[in-house]
C-alpha cells in the first residue's frame, strides 16, 4: 500500500512541477495576446490597459502563478482572451470530443492488436506471423500524416464517408437515432486513422511480450506436462507477459488527450488539438496552460494507473 502512496505522491509532484514549467514557458514567451491588439487602431490604449489590469498581465510571474493555482483549487482554469470566457468549459467540451475519438480508437486498437499479437507469437516464424509482422512494418513506415491524408483523399474520392467535422450541419434537428448515426459516420475516418496508426506499435509489443513469455522455462515445463494449448496461452504465458503490456496500456491511456492532434486537424474534428493550436497561435495564455496541463494529467495519470495495475497484477512488486 505504501508503494502505491509513494507512486501517487510522485505523480502529484510531477504534475506540480509540470504546471510550473508550463507556466514558465508560456509566460516567458515574447509577446502576449494584448500586443496583437495594440496593433488594432480601434482599441484605445486605455481599454488595453484596463484589459491588461483585469487579466493581471503586468503582475509578476509568481503572483500570477499563485492566483492561477488558487483558481484551480476552485475548479477554474483562468480566462480565455480570445473567447472572452472562462477556460474550463471551453477546454472540457473540446477534451470530451477528443476523448470520444481516442477512447474509441484505443479500445478498438487493443481489441485488434491483442489477438493479432498473441496469434503471431504463437505461430512465430510461420506464415501467420510473417503476414502480421510484414503488415505491421508496412504501416509503421507510413507516417501518420501520410496515412491520414491518404485516407482522407480516399474518403473524398469515394464519397462514402463524411470528410470532416464531428456532426453534419443541421444535425440538431435530426431525430435522436439519426443524430447518433451521423456522429458515428463522422467518427469512422478519424478512428480508422488512429487505429491503423497505433496498430504496428501495439502488435509488435504484444507479440514480443508473448513470444518471450512463451520461451520462459515455466511455460515450457507446463507444456511438457501436457497442459492444453489454450490454457497455456491464456493462463500462463499472458500472465508472464502482463508487465510490459500493462506499461504499454498505461502509455495508451497517457496519450488519450495528446496523441490525436494531427488527426483532428486533418479531419477537422473539433477536439482539444486544433483548439490548443489556435490558442497557441493567438497567444491565449490560460487556454494553452490549461490544455497542456490537462494533457499532462493524462500522461502522468496513465503512468500511475499502470503502476496500480502492475501492483495488483504482479505479487513481486507488492513485496518490495
Amino acid at each position: 500500500m505504501r508503494y502505491l502512496l509513494r507512486r501517487f505522491l510522485h505523480a502529484a509532484i510531477l504534475l506540480a512541477g509540470a504546471s510550473v514549467l508550463a507556466f514558465l514557458f508560456t509566460s516567458l514567451a515574447p509577446g502576449n495576446y494584448f500586443d496583437e491588439m495594440r496593433l488594432n487602431p480601434q482599441i484605445s490604449s486605455e481599454t488595453l490597459r484596463a484589459l491588461k489590469a483585469h487579466y493581471d498581465i503586468d503582475k509578476p510571474l509568481a503572483v500570477r502563478y499563485a492566483v492561477w493555482l488558487k483558481s484551480l483549487a476552485n475548479g477554474e482554469m483562468g480566462y480565455s482572451f480570445a473567447y472572452n470566457a472562462p477556460v474550463e468549459p471551453l477546454l472540457l467540451v473540446r477534451a470530451r470530443n477528443t476523448l470520444l475519438l481516442t477512447i474509441t480508437s484505443t479500445l478498438l486498437a487493443w481489441f485488434i492488436a491483442l489477438p493479432l499479437g498473441v496469434w503471431s507469437a504463437q505461430y512465430s516464424g510461420r506464415w501467420v506471423d510473417r503476414v502480421v509482422t510484414g503488415a505491421s512494418a508496412l504501416l509503421l513506415v507510413i507516417p501518420d500524416i501520410a496515412l491520414g491524408l491518404g485516407l482522407l483523399i480516399f474518403a473524398v474520392r469515394t464519397r462514402w464517408l463524411p470528410t470532416g467535422g464531428m456532426v453534419s450541419v443541421g444535425s440538431e434537428a435530426m431525430p435522436f437515432a439519426a443524430q447518433w448515426w451521423d456522429l458515428l459516420r463522422h467518427m469512422i475516418l478519424p478512428v480508422a486513422i488512429l487505429v491503423l496508426g497505433a496498430q504496428p506499435v501495439l502488435v509488435r509489443h504484444v507479440r514480443s511480450a508473448v513470444a518471450e513469455a512463451l520461451e520462459e522455462g515455466f511455460v515450457r515445463a507446463a507444456a511438457a506436462h501436457g497442459i492444453p494449448r489454450r490454457r497455456l496461452l491464456w493462463r500462463y504465458a499472458l500472465r508472464a507477459a502482463a508487465n510490459p503490456l500493462i506499461s504499454l496500456f498505461g502509455f495508451s491511456i497517457g496519450v488519450l488527450l495528446s496523441g490525436s492532434l494531427l488527426v483532428e486537424v486533418i479531419t477537422s474534428w473539433p477536439g482539444l488539438g486544433p483548439f490548443l493550436l489556435e490558442a497557441i497561435l493567438a497567444r491565449d495564455l490560460y487556454v494553452v496552460i490549461g490544455g497542456v496541463l490537462l494533457s499532462t494529467v493524462f500522461l502522468v495519470g496513465g503512468n500511475f494507473i499502470a503502476d496500480v495495475l502492475l501492483f495488483w497484477a504482479d505479487p513481486r512488486i507488492r513485496t518490495e
Binding site: L140, V141, P143, I145, A146, G150, L261, I280, T296
Partner: protein
C-alpha cells in the same frame, strides 16, 4: 536470410543512396523550386511515354504538352499533337550544388519546354523539384535536430551518470519532468512562442534547435545508464588509481562505450524528428513559404478543393516512406546486433 552485418551494410547503402539523391537535389530536380508559372496552376503529372498515339516507338522518352480542357479552367488534358522529348544533362536554371558550387546542369529536362513529371502546385511550381528540394530541408532538419538532441543528451547523461550525487538527481528529475509533458504540444508551444514571421533560414534554425533541445531527455537517460555501468568497471578504477582526472575518464573510457547506444538512438530519433518538422511545417509553424519542405508542401491539402481534385499534391507524403523504411530497418538490425553481442559476451 543474410547475416546481420551484411544486412546492415545493404540498408546503410540504401540510405546513403536515397540521401545522396536528395543531397544533389539541385542537379536531380529539373526546375527551380520557387519559380512560379501562374499560367499552369495545379497541372496534373505528365506521364512518361515511349510510344506515341500512332504506335511509333521512340527511344527517347517524352511527355505530351498539356492544355486546358474545353470549357474548364482547371482541368488539363494531354495535347497529343505536341511531343516534348526528355533530354538528359540539360542546362537549366542555375543552382548551387551542395549549397556551394554554382552549376547549371540538370539530370534531365525539356530544354525550353516544361515537363512537370509530378504536376504543379497552386502557383504553377514544379512539384517534382519542390519535393526534392523539400526533402533536402526536411531531411537535413531531422538529421541536425537529432544531432542536437544526442549532443545535449550525451553531455548531460554522461556527466550525470559518472558524477552521480546532486548532479545526477537534479538532471534526472528534470528529464522526468520534460518527459512528462506532452512532447508535441511542448514543441508547438515553444515554436509558436518564438517569432513566427522570420526568414526560411532563421525558421529552419529555430525549428531544428527547438526539436533538438526538447528531445534531450531520452538519450540522456540511456547514456546515463551506460555511464553508470561503465564507471563501475575495473578499468575505470584502475585509471583512477593511476591518477586520471574525471575528464580523462569520461573522454577515454566512458564516452567510447556510449557509441552503440548513441547510434541506435540516432536511427530512432532521425525519422521522428523529420516527422516533427513535417508536422510543424504542415501546420504553419515550420518552414515558411516559398521555401519547400515536405510538410508545407502538404499543407495545401487542408483545403477541400485541393483534396478532391488535385491528388498529386499528396505525393510528398509518399516521398517520406522509403526514408522511414531505411531508418526503421537500420534500427531493427542495430538492435538485433546488440542482442546478439550480449549473448556472445
Amino acid at each position: 536470410m543474410k547475416s546481420a552485418p551484411q544486412r546492415q551494410r545493404v540498408i546503410v547503402t540504401l540510405l546513403v543512396l536515397l540521401h545522396g539523391i536528395v543531397l544533389v537535389g539541385g542537379f536531380v530536380a529539373p526546375y527551380d523550386p520557387v519559380r512560379q508559372d501562374r499560367d499552369r496552376p495545379y497541372a496534373p503529372p505528365a506521364g512518361i511515354h515511349f510510344a506515341d498515339g500512332q504506335g511509333k516507338f521512340h527511344l527517347r522518352p517524352f511527355v505530351y504538352a498539356q492544355r486546358l480542357r474545353e470549357g474548364s479552367f482547371d482541368q488539363y488534358e494531354d495535347d497529343h499533337s505536341k511531343l516534348i522529348p526528355l533530354k538528359f544533362f540539360v542546362s537549366g536554371a542555375s543552382y548551387r550544388l551542395l549549397g556551394v558550387i554554382p552549376a547549371k546542369v540538370h539530370l534531365f529536362g525539356a530544354d525550353e519546354e516544361t515537363a512537370n513529371l509530378l504536376g504543379t502546385d497552386g502557383y504553377g511550381r514544379d512539384l517534382f523539384s519542390r519535393i526534392i528540394h523539400g526533402g533536402q530541408i526536411s531531411l537535413f532538419a531531422g538529421l541536425l535536430a537529432a544531432g542536437v538532441s544526442l549532443l545535449v543528451g550525451t553531455i548531460v547523461g554522461s556527466a550525470s551518470g559518472y558524477l552521480g550525487g546532486w548532479t545526477d538527481s537534479i538532471a534526472m528529475r528534470l528529464a522526468e519532468l520534460c518527459l512528462a509533458l506532452p512532447w508535441l504540444y511542448l514543441l508547438f508551444g515553444v515554436r509558436a512562442f518564438l517569432p513566427l514571421l522570420v526568414s526560411p533560414v532563421k525558421a529552419f534554425l529555430i525549428v531544428v534547435t527547438t526539436i533538438g533541445v526538447l528531445g534531450w531527455a531520452r538519450p540522456a537517460r540511456l547514456v546515463r545508464g551506460v555511464a553508470l555501468s561503465a564507471k563501475e568497471r575495473d578499468f575505470v578504477r584502475a585509471a583512477q588509481g593511476f591518477g586520471a582526472s574525471n575528464s580523462y575518464i569520461l573522454r577515454r573510457h566512458i564516452l567510447p562505450q556510449t557509441k552503440s547506444v548513441i547510434l541506435t538512438q540516432a536511427a530512432i530519433l532521425i525519422p521522428q524528428y523529420i516527422l516533427a518538422e513535417v508536422t510543424l511545417s504542415f501546420l504553419g509553424l515550420g518552414i515558411p513559404e516559398p521555401a519547400p519542405s515536405w510538410g508545407n508542401l502538404l499543407s495545401s491539402l487542408q483545403q477541400y478543393s485541393v483534396l478532391s481534385s488535385y491528388w498529386w499534391m499528396y505525393l510528398p507524403a509518399m516521398a517520406m516512406v522509403p526514408f522511414f523504411f531505411g531508418y526503421l530497418a537500420l534500427s531493427s538490425t542495430l538492435q538485433e546486433g546488440r542482442r546478439a553481442a550480449k549473448i556472445d559476451s
